[in-house]
Each structure stands twice: as C-alpha cells, then as structure tokens.
Symmetry: D2
C-alpha cells in the first residue's frame, strides 16, 4: 500500500468538472419532474457548481451547454465564475434540439442543415475564446431509425468534413473531444456509436482531436477500463463523462450502479498516471438527477469518484506486478480486491479537514441552508431543463 500522504497528495490535485445541465430539470421521454430551486440561467447554474466546489474542494470548473447557457457576455460569466471560485470548463454544443435537426446535424442529407450545425460548432469555439475554455466537447445525436433511411457511408463523409472544418478553427491550446454513444436518440444507427469510430476520425484529424468516454454509452458487457487503457496507450483519451447505468444511458450518479467498475477504471488511470490535472485527461460528470435533489446528488457524485480513485491509489502496485508476472491469478486479483475492500472514507475525511472543508460535504450541504435559500429565491422565471 502506498503511504497515505502520497494518496492524499494525488487526490488533492485531482479535478472533477460538473456540468451546468445537471443542475437543471431532467427526465425521461415520459415525464420531466420539476424540482424547486432549480436554476433559471447560466449564472445560477454557475452558483450551484461553485457551491459543490466550496463543499468538496474538488470540483473547480463547470461545463457549459450552448445554447442552454447562452449569455450576452461570456467574459462576464467567466468573471462571475472566478468570483465564485471556479472557472468555465468544456463547451458543449447542442445540435439536436431544433426542428431542422430531425434527421441529423452535421450528417444531415441537406447541406443547408449541415452548414447551420457547423456554424453552431464554430460559434462554440468563439465562446471558448471568450471564456478561456480549452475543451470543445462534441456529441452528435445524429443517426437513423430504420435500415435504408439514409446512407451510412455518406453520413460518415459528412461527419468527417464537419469535424475537419471545426478542427482547423481550434486555437493552439484548444482541443476537441469526440464522444460516442451506442444508441438514443436514434435506434437503428448512430453516426458515432463506439470508441472505434471516434478513434478513427480523431486519428485522421490530428493531435488536437481525442476520444471522450461517457461511461454510460456502451453496449452491454463492454469492458470500459480496457478501452480506456487502449486509448491511453495510443494517446487518444481526451476525457470522461462520468455517470452510471444499469441498462442503457441511464445517466445515474457515477458509482451508484457499479462502484467496482468505477474503481477498475480508476485503477487504470492511476496506473497510467492520468489523474494529474496536466495529464490531458478531463474528468467531467454528465448525469441526470430525475428523482433526487440536484446539488447534493452532484456532491455525492464527486465523493464517489474520489472514493474510487482513493482505493485505486491504495493498490499495492509492486505486489500486484509481482503476482501478475508470476502468473498468480488469485494472488494478483487479491491485491486489487484488498484495495477495493478498504473503507477510504476516513482517509477522505482527513483530506477534507486538511483542505479546510467539512469532512462530510453532504451533511454540510444540508446544514448550510443553501437548498432552502435557492428554493425561496428562485421563483418565477423559467427553470432550466433539457428543453425536450
């Protein structure tokens, strides 16, 4: 086992980004249940994200979603975030919620729609410039519902053209992360359904294009830590959208559905020394809190990631390597499980105390009065939500 000081040092440096949209209302196609206190604009979302960071000391940035978070003055929003103690993280374009996008955005058969979609992506790079964001986080809802509906091959060509145009617009310190997803909102083919497709396009584009792994976007049975390892090996892991799932893209709180899987992913990241903020791997949450209160759910999610990483940091790497090299199946597995079986909550409580925050951020949130305050203050206006 590593000594606790080293473990705490690594955890102290790790940064987890929360997404602005997770503070708004969300739901399923059947119903969006509105919650009291939900933010009504980008500023209120930033305020909530800042609250999560104040309580955890681990979530110093917030991702924006455009046009949901459109403001008149992005520099002002960035300043507001800084005043609150956080910064603007990844910019996430939305090219799926206008009627024009029914049959796709950058892959649409109509060049006019494709032009509109690419223009929106370019606008998002402008917003990156204005906010200092260095990450463009691309997810395309594009796909088809029926075999034959459109040409899979033609859509790949259109995708490549759009990605190239946006890639060429990126500044020297900016990257694009290309997300993939097995299905939904389309049910026959998605235009970027798996990491292989994202990888192939990113290789063709160049060094500033990398793969974004959303932990809920895989086929059943996919070994996520494996593909994370392969992407790290080939230098193409750009970051994560963390969440958890039992069935499909459930968007549950990360670590809630399968904490052992999260630990195994964390183990590969620790092994590759990719937890460091300068590793180039972005750690972002992407979740829907349909039933539970938003802010404490995000706090809980940050803690879940920290617990998984803490356990991974406790793995006795030397003992593991020795057992692996010896072909000691039970022994090597046992070394890993020893770390997983450890209760790391005391260690994390200690770390928080050292960082000057409450050892129990959830309890601290409930004690803070913040929830009552936002429920009282945020009446009137239009609650933020997915807009579906």
């Amino acid at each position: 086992m590593k000594d606790h000081a080293a473990v705490k040092a690594a955890l102290r440096a790790m940064r987890i980004e929360t997404p602005s949209w997770a503070y708004g209302n969300s739901g399923t196609r059947f119903k969006v249940y509105a919650q009291a206190g939900v933010p009504r604009d980008a500023y209120e979302k930033v305020a909530d994200a800042a609250m999560v960071h104040r309580l955890t000391a681990a979530a110093p940035s917030v991702a924006l979603h455009i046009p949901w978070d459109r403001v008149d003055d992005y520099a002002d929003l960035a300043r507001f975030a800084a005043d609150q103690g956080i910064r603007i993280g990844a910019i996430n374009p939305n090219v799926f919620q206008e009627n024009d996008y029914k049959l796709g955005s950058v892959c649409h058969p109509d060049p006019g729609v494709r032009r509109k979609a690419v223009d929106h992506l370019l606008e998002c790079v402008d917003i990156m410039d204005a906010t200092g964001s260095q990450v463009l986080s691309l997810w395309f809802a594009d796909g088809t519902n029926y075999a034959g509906q459109d040409s899979i091959a033609a859509r790949q060509d259109r995708l490549a053209d759009a990605l190239r145009e946006v890639y060429d617009r990126l500044g020297p310190d900016q990257r694009m992360l290309v997300e993939y997803k097995l299905f939904e909102p389309h049910f026959y083919s998605m235009d970027v359904p798996d990491w292989g497709t994202s990888y192939a396009h990113c290789v063709a584009l160049g060094d500033k294009a990398q793969v974004l792994v959303d932990t809920g976007h895989h086929a059943p049975g996919t070994n996520i830590e494996f593909l994370v390892t392969v992407l790290l090996r080939f230098g193409k892991l750009g970051g994560f959208h963390f969440n958890s799932r039992n069935y499909a893209d459930d968007d549950l709180m990360v670590g809630a559905a399968d904490p052992f899987q999260l630990f195994r992913i964390a183990h590969e990241l620790v092994r590759a020394d990719a937890i460091r903020p300068d590793s180039g791997v972005e750690y972002m949450l992407d979740q829907c809190h349909n039933l539970e209160a938003k802010v404490p759910a995000l706090i809980r999610s940050v803690l879940n990631v920290q617990e998984a990483v803490a356990k991974a940091l406790l793995v006795d790497a030397d003992a593991l390597a020795t057992a692996q090299q010896a072909g000691d199946v039970l022994g090597a597995h046992g070394v890993l499980m020893d770390a997983f079986s450890t209760d790391v909550r005391p260690l994390l409580a200690e770390l928080r105390t050292e960082l000057g925050v409450d050892p129990d951020p959830i309890a601290a949130y409930h004690a803070s009065g913040y929830q009552q305050q936002i429920e009282t203050a945020r009446t009137g206006g239009q609650q933020a939500g997915w807009g579906a």
Copy 2:
C-alpha cells in the same frame, strides 16, 4: 404448404388494433419533433385510425389512453368511431405523468398517491363500461433509480393490493392485461420488469388477469416466441403490444428491426390457433413515429404484421412435425425457412382486392389526399403528444 384460400381466410379474420397515441407527436427525452397534421383530440385520432382501417381492412379498433383521450361523453366517442367504421379497443390508464407519480403510482410509498392512482384505474373501468371496451391495458412506470431508494418487497405488496382492487371491479366480460418492461423510465428496478412477475400476479388474481407482451420490453437476447408459447400453454397470454427494437424500448414500426423474429412469433401463434379474433389474444400496436409520418407508418406496420402472419400460415405444419419428430435438424429448420423466404406480397394484394381495398394501401394513402387534408385542416389547437 396450406392452400392459399385457407391462408387468406385466416388473414381476413385477423384484427390488429392501432393506438390513439401513435397518431400524436412523440420523441425521445432529447426532443419531440412536431409534425404537421397531427390530431388535436380523441376524435381526430379516431378519424386517423379509421383511415388506417379503410385502407387495410385489418385494423377495426383503436386503443385509448386516458387522460390523453379524455372526452366529455365517451358514448359519443364510441358512436363517432362506429360511424367511421371502427370501435374503441383497449383502455390504457396513465399513472406516470403527474408530479405526484415521481416515485411511483400504485407502488408509491405514500398511501395517498396510491389511492389516487387506483382511483384513476377504476375511472378507466368506468370508461370501459361507457365505450364497450373489454380490455384494460395496464402498464406501470413504477420503479426506482437507486439501490435502497425504496423497498422492492413493500412495493410488490402495494402492487398486489392495487391490482386486486381493480380486478374485483371488472365486469363479467372485461379483462385486465398486465404489461411488463425491463427498464425505463426507471433505471435500477421496475416493479413489473418481466413476464414472470406479471404472470405471478395474474395467477394470484384469477382468470380475468392476463399477461400483455410488448415486443420491445425485454432484456437483450430474450426469445420472445418462447415465452409467448409458455404463456399460451398456461392460458395467460392476453395480447401484444407490437413494435420493434434494436436496443431498448425503441418503439419502432413492428417488423422493421427484425422481421424474422416477428415471423417466429407469428409461427407460434398460428400453431396455437391464436390468430382467430375469439382466441382471447389481442393484437395491438404500440409504437412511436418520431421521424416518419404517422398514418402511413401505422399502415406499414399493419402490413408488416400481416406479412409475418401470412408467412407463418404458409408453414407446412405436417412436414415440419415429421422432420421435428425425426430429429432432422436441418430439414425441420428448412421447412420453416421455406415459408419465411416466400414473398407473400402478391397473396396479400390478392386478399385486399377480394376485400375491396387497394392492393397497395401505402400507395393508396398517398393518392388519397388525406395527408394534405389533415395538414390543412388541423391548424390551431394543441397537437396531441406524449405530454412529457
């Protein structure tokens, strides 16, 4: 091969029910794309359903969804349907789209919410009485998103209590069909996730409770024709919600994703002589036409079911039984595939001509001017939709 006259006689008798909600707008949690000409109330939905029947001569009833199809006078709606040449089919309660139902309806921890939900179910039996409907089609969106969120066992008890109360209210010629679904809108546990759970409750209830099979509600790899056969054997197959899927509850047009599966299901139904209207097995569509035009999509779906059943009717049952009994694996499989490989469209065109409808109902729809008519007439008002 059976002679074509017998095949056509069987097809002539078969009835496929379309659902009122499939004529309205639908979509995913990401976006509902509105279409022109979509009905604005229950009468317009009935009109569209009647159009499908006029063109196919195979869809003589329409299922209602309450409260989406609430009207002041259900007897009047039933008369309107009769005037259009169809009748009111199954009544589908909705206990998932009010804020009270966030944590469940009949399984909710709060007895007040459960009371409200059961009262709505009882109201739907009243509507059955008023419309002459004999089928109460029950689907519960109830479930939980997180382990521990609620007691699975307590929820089962609440479910049983609610079902019992509604069961006891049914008239002598009325049945309740209990649908199941693996997941969505909840992502940890559903309160009726599989046919086994539905079956166990229906057995406990009595003869008027049967299982409803929605072809899109199973875990990957589930052999649907198998469970259909088992349900038939134990007398508990109440009917179908037909649709097709590649991934989850995609709600695509039946037969579009896997026509061979639909044929295999049809084969078991033909074998059990369950295609007959008096078999007690209800054939209903339950689909979402997110991208494609509604009315022609429903026509196409009716045709797809007919083609699958026609192929199943063409199976040489004697040759099949002989090969099966002899353990001739390739021979028996070959007998089934012979029927599937047959192009039954000419036979169905012949049947339609005999029935006095156009041999190509899709072409007839496009030639009818109906689409232009509804797009022109149905402006203003509130388009029907899922209401999410």
Copy 3:
C-alpha cells in the same frame, strides 16, 4: 447499524455448500487446462470440500453430480463425509453428456430418450435416499439451435410430464429445485430459459418444487435481487447457485465480477430473514476455476459470500425504512451504501477466531501444506473433470 454480536450470530449460522465438480478440471469449449492435485473420485472431492469447511467453518456440505460422482456405496460416501466433518448436500443429475442427449433429455422428441432421462432422475432420488440428501437440483441442458428444429410447445409438455413423474417420487422431506438458464449449450431456445418458466412449472407441480437461481444464468441487465424478492414473496425461492459473470455463464468466483450486486442480493435475503439454515433457501456455489487453483478459489468464494452477507447484516434497517417511507431518494440510497462501503474483513476475522479457525483462511490454506500434499498424492488415475 446492528450490533456486531447479532451480525456475527447470523453469519455463524449461515451455511454455504460447495459443489464437487468445482474441485475437478474445467474449461471452455476451446480447452480444459488440467491442474495438478485435482481429485480423481468422489471421495477425494469430498476430502477437498471438507478442507474448505475446516478452514472457513462455513461450508458444511458438498453437492454431488451424478454420474460424475457415482460410487458403489453411497451410504459409505456419506459416512466418509461425516467423518471429515461435512455432509452430502444436493444431488445434481446429469442428462446432457451421453450421445443420446444430443437433441435433449426430458424434452427429446424420442420417448425412449425421455424414458432414459427420467430414469436417471429417479435414480438420483434413490441416491438422495441413500445419502440423506433432501435436495434434487435439476438443470436441463435441453434446447434447440435453430428456429423450427423442434416444437417449443411439445417440448414444454414433455418437460411437464417428466417433472411430474419425478415430483411424485420425492419423499416427504425432499424437494426439487428447478434451475433455468438463458442459453448454452443451446443457442436458439432453451426449454427452461428464465425464472418465469421455472416458476410456472413449479406452481403447477406443488410445494415441493421451487426455483433455483443461478446468478450467472440471466440476460444482460436482469435485476437479480428483484426476482429473488418476487420469488421469496411467492414462496418459491428454493436456493442459489452462486457464481459471477461479466458476459454470459462465465462461472467465475462469486463476488469477483460485481461485488455490489452480490451485496444487493444479500440485502434482500437478510431483509426476508432467509439467511437462516431453516429458511428453506439453499446457498450453493456453482463455479468453474479454469485458471486458478481449485481449493483456494472455493475458500475465496465462501469468504466473498460472507463479506456480502456481513455488509447486508450491517444495513441500518430502521434508518433505511424511514428514508424510504419519506421518499428521501439520496438518504435511503445512502443508508444502503454506508453498509456496502464498510470494510467487514476485521469483523469476519473476529468471527473466525471465535469459531476456532484462522482469521485468514487463504493464508491458512497456503500454510497448511494441503496443496503440496494432494499434488504429490494424486498422481495416476483419471482426474475429475467436466468430461466434455
């Protein structure tokens, strides 16, 4: 949290049965890798099972598999087991490894093969009488590979007939447990593919027939703790075959692939007070140790079950019920996760010390010299294995 004395008392009473076949060689269709020291007959398997019990004080019985464990004198084998400190547990017939069974056993189209299969099942009841076993554990490899190969319906009838004949032969204190499995060794239909099918037959048979849940036999996404809860509710949970899986029927060590799932199952069992030996729920392992050494793998598996149950016993049931009743999603989930996050290894070590066994059974095994002893002694003869 319950007090530790109560937790330890519950754990002290819990019994986990190991399977004789897990001590023999196993593998995949591609290769069975032989291991040194593997038993060559039923007596040596019993000896290994006894060793597991001596080290864990938790595995006091061993399941037999017939004909793999056929002996001349079963009473003698039972005495040998008793001398070693354990007893004979469930009897598992094998009706899949003779050429006659290529197209099935009790579901075979040929009545002669069905007769042979049923006779073997009846022979196994004789062995139950001779050994004092009270559990007949039935798994049928029966199924088909191709649509049309055989009649699903006819096979269900044959299955029902066979089960009935065997059921009627059971003694007053004997039960039959009917296992199900999604697929393998057949790949189109299995004759008992899911718990619903097993349940329907068991209900038809009577009280002495119950469902056996093998944790590796489900479709992807199946919520096992849910169906366990339903089976408990309807009085039809007969027991478990524990193992773990990532993909299909992987037969890995229980708790290795998804320890959180095992904990959730344990939580439902604790809630229903079904851990007690007189609960009627049998806890059995059914695993393949293709790569790892057999005896320590089984020890490890027993420990994994104990850890999951210990955590489940630590759940604060009152706090959980309160949060559930209040609709406090995050609070209720948190109560469950608190127990899961706890490191229960110290508590279990304490329990073992109280029971007079080594607190670390794996280390004790390695220190015992048993592995070297069996590797030296068990040369010559025919190693036990799956016989494929």
Copy 4:
C-alpha cells in the same frame, strides 16, 4: 431494380471460403457429440470442402487451421486441393490449445511462452508460402478472467510486439487479418475485444494488416453493418468470418439467426462494390455444426450468403439515394425492404443451372450418396474435432 443478368454476374464472381474445422466435430464445454463420417485428416476435410464447391460453384477455397491440419507436405495438400477443384485459403494459427497458453499466448506474462507463440505464427507464414495462401487469419484467445489478474496495458505492449514481428515476415502479396472477440474463452478481459482495438493495431502496423470481422463476436446491440461501413471507408476491412448468433459466439449457420442482419451487411458490401473477388475483402465461414450434419450445413450456409447478397444486389440504388436525399424516411426504408422481401431462390436456381450445377444443392447432396460414402469409408482413425 438492377437487371437480373447483372445480379447473376455479380453472384457468379463471388467466392465464399469454407473452414476445414467446420467439417470436424464440435460442441460446447458441456459435450462434443461425434458424428459419423467426419474427416480424420486435412485431406478428408479438403475433400468435403471440394464437395461443397462442386454442388454450389461458389466455395472454391478452404481455410486451414494449424496444427489441426498439419501435414508433412503442404505443397502436396495444395496439389490435392487443386485436383479436387479448389485451393487453400487462409491459414489460421492456433495458440490456445497447449497447456503453456493457459494465461495467454502472445500476451502471456512469460517471454518464453510469447516466443513459442510467435514462432508458431511465423511457422504459419511458412505454410502460406508452401500453399500459396495470401491470408494469415489471426485470432488470439488471450485474456484474463479476473480484474487484476494481469496488466491490461502490458499485454497490449506484448501484443503489439508480436504483431510487428509477424507483420515484418509477411511476403509482398500476403496480408494479416486481425480478428477480435468480445469474450470467451476469457471472461474479464480479452486482449482484442472489439474492432477498435484491432483497427488501432492494424493502423500502427501498416497496409498489410486489416481487421477481420467475425459476425458472432460483438456485444449485444452492435450494428455490424455500420462498423463494416466504417472499416471500408478507412480501408481496413480485410474480411469476414460469417456465422450467426442469438446470444454470444453461438457459431450457428450464417443467416439462420437473423437473415435481415445478413442482408443489411450485404447491402453495405454491394454499395461499396466489395463483393468482387479483387476487392480485398475475404468472405469466409466460421461455424460449428454441433447438432446438424456438417456438409449439408455448409452448403446451406453458402446458399444463405448468396441469398442475402442476391437481395442486396436487387436494391434499387437510384431510388434509394433519391429517397434518402429527400429525407423520405418511410420511402427509403421501403426501397430496401422491397429487395429483402423478394424471393431470390428462383434467380439463384437459374444461376446454378447456368453454372452447370443442380438448382437445389441440398437436394443434390442428399441424392449424391456422398454422406453414406463418407460414413462408410471413414471408420477407424481419429475424427477431427476441436480437441478440447
């Protein structure tokens, strides 16, 4: 629709390779059921493959599996094949059936085992030289069963080293195809689990390395025609191992489980003009005939591929493109389905007559007396099989 002459010309040129091992016995881990008449050496397998070609005029080569098909003089085997009217196709090394390979072959932690495995791969290139084979077909059973058992990252490095050494040994007209598989025989991680991993390594290696798609090796829900299209686009589709599946790597006859999927794949191949023998895409079967007779099963499989391709050739490409470009979802889908619904058996019968073979190859096989002949002649010796 294309004219039938063009369709027949395309079909006439298409070549489907059968695998030597499919003529031998196969089974599951539970049981291998032996069949009468099964070949006992490579020559008899070649004879069976030649029989399939004589009856279908579409299967002019046979893939070898080393060491199962080891002979003293490969040039002699190639001459024997030529005398029978076929040629030797792909060479398939086997690095999973010796005890040394328990923990892997080219990814094994022990460099000695890796050396042995690479040497076997190099020996297979020698056999390619001797037989004139231009395709090395690589599948690695390598993987792990437990998290932590070995280092995923280290195994990737070892894999890359081995592939590089073999790649550099290839002659100017030789290629290596790298197959992937989700799971089995390992159940936690496979070292090449998906097309993305295979693709990444092939890109790193160079033009002579391409991806091999086995249609049974994907996660549930994978859209195979999509990834085929992407691989074609990036020039990395080397070929297929055709078979079909309902659950896992079932290795059923191609087209038996989901004929519509096979058609969709064929549609993408036709679209890309990849059916031509000089397209660089190899069409190979890889199946297990556990229950059914081997030679007729392979004939049937060849016919199934032909039927799917024939339907794909009948797609009205112009009408499809027009509807796709217009965003006509139902219309475009309908164009594709028109071709699928067509009964192409008459067209194929016509083609066979033109080619001088029986229009019904299955009937011709049964009439030929070949089965009786091999059952009589092939007694004694050791039946070929998977050797597990």
